[in-house]
């Protein structure tokens, strides 16, 4: 075999050996313990900060809302879908039993036209596919520019929850 071909094979061998060597060093230690991924990744994801508490946690204190909600169209909605993430609110609630929670821990109270139409705006695409699983009815939809618009100049001030109880619409 000519000299340069031998060297070429040698060079390839060096690259392969280097790769195998680097592989043993660089391969993450927990890799392959459970499957073809870093086992530590699960732990790392577990350590991530949580934001949502879940409805069960909310109704421990806000029991009246639970009874309201249970019989209405919004029964299957999670509280935090409208009120925003509330883990901190729930965690610190006990510490302010007698008084009010500071503003930074208070949750959002939606109810304006801008907010309710996120789900209830007239939407040709939604009509066909979104069903309320309990009553088997569609999500009610309105055209916010026309629906019960008493004062056209004050569109923003017309608040949905003045007529509809958001927990039992």
């Amino acid at each position: 075999m000519p000299q340069h071909i031998k060297r070429l094979i040698g060079a390839f061998a060096v690259v392969i050996i280097l790769f195998l060597l680097l592989q043993t060093i660089l391969r993450p230690t927990s890799f392959g313990k459970i499957g073809h991924y870093r086992a530590d990744a699960i732990q790392e994801n577990k350590m991530k900060e949580l934001h949502y508490a879940g409805s069960d946690k909310c109704t421990k204190c806000h029991e009246e809302m639970k009874t309201d909600k249970e019989v209405g169209f919004h029964a299957t909605l999670q509280c935090e879908a409208c009120h925003g993430p509330g883990l901190k609110h729930a965690m610190y609630a006990d510490k302010f039993k007698d008084g009010k929670l500071p503003d930074s821990l208070m949750l959002h109270k939606p109810g304006s036209r801008k907010e309710c139409v996120i789900c209830h705006q007239l939407n040709a695409a939604r009509v066909k596919i979104v069903f309320d699983t309990i009553n088997n009815s569609m999500i009610k939809q309105i055209d916010p520019m026309k629906h019960n618009l008493v004062d056209k100049r004050n569109f923003a001030k017309l608040v949905c929850i003045e007529c509809h109880n958001p927990h039992q619409p």
Partner: protein
């Protein structure tokens, strides 16, 4: 908490109709457009080089070396858009040290390594080994060291050794052509095999990607050749350019027909996804699909190059036409990738809504980043052309073909 709701408003202002929550933001942006674009340029440039080598089209000789070095420069950068797209780019090596065969994405490591190490580097090495040894004797300093090291300190330039190089190089090129097809067919395969996405999921996808890759690679080499000859103040080899242009015309024609077939098939079978795609094509994708890819990148080049097949104007005019048409095709193919990658994410898989795509100037997914990864291959190419000038090679190379 109001800022969460505020954020929701902002996000929803991008959306029309109904989309699933994970479809609002596009996960694959311009860098993922660049990846098939750059790999396509590699495959195309290599296939042009192999036309000369395997099919013995000696009229293409002036572009052979340029095509190979262009392929290598772009190949070295092909992974970089993917790496810089990662949320944690410093972990990118992990994919390389944990290879496996169970996902189409992971196969890229093997395809890439095979093509880079076994095809491109080997072919260039066999092609330049003798020249590197000769040049090492004529130069000094760093350049001399580079030539010596890259030729692995070999010294044998006897006719027998050179003939063996040529024979092995020839074999590598023969392996290289299906490998180039595989490389780019593979990129199309990744998109074509995503069956949940009706814009991507077509068995024609690998073939369409492959032909558009060949088109873009040939245009790039054509442009690079014109620019280099102008910089070196030499006379352009018109028979060579004319031959490239005619190949470009035929392959562009095939590419156009294939894409047309794909669309006609879509229109004819009109599956349940048809309406959403119809609105996509005439709405959000109209400019990039019909104007950039269709008109600028395909129809104008096809008509111009087609005319040149029957009517040959003066050399100066032909040269000007090639100088204008090749970037137009390159732009068109870029937008073909854009329409596939971005277009496939603009509509909801519920088929009931659309999201929109906005790209920033700066940031890891911005225009500047994309421009950077498009410029880097040209810098590498300049270096490679300085180190391995194809025009300084001893001719008669491929004539000593054994067998």
């Amino acid at each position: 908490m109001t800022q969460h709701i505020q954020h929701l408003y902002e996000v929803l202002s991008k959306v029309d109709g109904y989309v699933y929550p994970n479809e609002i933001e596009l996960n694959w942006s311009i860098l993922i457009v660049l990846y098939p674009y750059i790999t396509g340029l590699v495959a195309g440039a290599f296939i042009l080089a192999s036309l000369e080598r395997i099919f013995k089209l000696h009229v293409l000789r002036p572009t052979y070396g340029i095509a190979l070095l262009t392929a290598l420069s772009f190949m070295l950068v092909a992974t970089m858009p993917l790496v810089s797209h990662l949320g944690k780019p410093l972990r990118a090596y992990e994919i390389m040290v944990t290879p496996h065969l169970s996902s189409a994405m992971a196969i890229f490591g093997f395809v890439y390594l095979w093509y880079l190490m076994v095809v491109l580097l080997l072919e260039i090495w066999f092609d330049y080994r003798r020249d590197m040894i000769i040049w090492a004797g004529e130069t000094t300093g760093l350049k001399r060291f580079l030539y010596r090291a890259l030729s692995l300190w070999s010294t044998d330039i006897s006719p027998k050794a050179v003939a063996l190089d040529n024979k092995l190089g020839y074999i590598v090129t023969i392996i290289g052509v299906p490998s180039a097809f595989l490389l780019h067919g593979y990129v199309g395969f990744i998109f074509g095999s995503i069956k949940a996405n009706p814009w991507w999921s077509t068995v024609l996808m690998p073939v369409i990607f492959l032909f558009s890759a060949i088109v873009s690679g040939i245009s790039l080499v054509m442009l690079v050749y014109i620019v280099i000859t102008r910089i070196r103040k030499l006379k352009i080899d018109m028979p060579c350019l004319d031959t490239i242009a005619s190949y470009l015309f035929y392959i562009l024609l095939i590419d156009f027909v294939l894409e047309g077939l794909d669309q006609i098939h879509r229109i004819y079978i009109a599956e349940e996804s048809f309406d959403v795609l119809h609105n996509l094509v005439f709405g959000r994708l109209f400019f990039t699909l019909f104007i950039m890819q269709g008109l600028i990148g395909t129809v104008i080049p096809l008509l111009t190059l087609g005319t040149l097949q029957f009517y040959k104007p003066k050399i100066q005019i032909r040269k000007a036409i090639y100088t204008i048409i090749s970037p137009l095709i390159l732009i068109g193919i870029f937008f073909m990738r854009w329409n596939v990658v971005i277009g496939g994410q603009l509509f909801s898989k519920s088929f009931y809504g659309y999201t929109s795509f906005k790209i920033g100037l700066i940031g890891t997914e911005g225009y500047l980043m994309a421009a950077f990864w498009l410029i880097v291959p040209f810098i590498i190419l300049s270096f490679l052309l300085w180190l391995f000038p194809p025009w300084k090679k001893k001719e008669d190379d491929h004539e000593i073909q054994v067998g």
